[in-house]
Symmetry: C2
Subunit: 154 residues, 2 copies
């Protein structure tokens, strides 16, 4: 895999903000002609730096008003039980983010739901999956910032 130069990083900064731009517009912004700019994009996609192109939806407009952070401490730390737990939690579509953590908390989930009763149904399914020592749900009142574009070093 080749190195990523300053122009590649500029291209990445552009497409992770707006992937609907044409090659011509991107090429103009980074000071290239279309052909080399297109080749760089192909290379960035082939090497996996660009994973995929997606459409971002408005959560409220598809009926998902609630965001909850769930912190979990498990009781049983045996590998087999944890692997099954990870697979089952990943399969739940309400779970958007799922991290294994350092420190006192074992897992953190970011969960979306239409309303509190839907979240409660999710919660009950979650705690029945395996014996959990502690589960803390923190409800978001307001999303102040929600960014998918990564900060790319210059």
């Amino acid at each position: 895999m080749r190195i990523m130069d300053a122009i590649d990083r500029r291209i990445l900064r552009i497409v992770q903000k707006d992937a609907s731009l044409s090659i011509y517009e991107i090429a103009t912004q980074v000071g290239l002609s279309q052909t080399p700019c297109w080749k760089r994009l192909q290379r960035l996609e082939a090497s996996g730096v660009i994973k995929r192109r997606i459409a971002l939806l408005d959560p409220a407009k598809v009926g998902l008003g609630i965001t909850v952070f769930v912190s979990i401490q498990v009781g049983d730390h045996s590998g087999k039980a944890l692997a099954r737990f990870a697979a089952e939690v990943s399969a739940m579509e309400e779970v958007l983010d799922f991290y294994r953590m350092a420190g006192d908390v074992d897992y953190v989930l970011r969960v979306v739901a239409p309303d509190t009763s839907a979240f409660d149904a999710f919660y009950k399914r979650l705690i029945e999956m395996m014996p959990l020592k502690n589960v803390t749900s923190r409800f978001a009142l307001e999303s102040i910032k929600s960014e998918t574009a990564l900060p790319i070093a210059t």
Copy 2:
């Protein structure tokens, strides 16, 4: 704004997973011809259900290996100080998500950084912005699931 029917929801489920598909491919999957499918997409974009189209990058491949959840309890709850705090934190590019919370924790941030020393630099900037009663940083060891596609009710 018109109602969103089952076909609209199917279109949304497709494009939030892969926005590189052509109109023809989407139309085929939902059982429409190109023209009405294209009109539905236009309407979904005009009404703001589809916010924008972006490219998703691999964090590790752009040198962002660290994800940290930061929980904040503020000391001063006066509106003016909080508004300034919210604006300043939002402006920090390491902050990808920033929520105001219900309960004991006032704010939760999801922060990315190249390494722990870069996070430490961020942390120092953060705690100097205003007097904070408690700031807890939890480091992610592993991202088990990271999903941008919202679960759309059938």
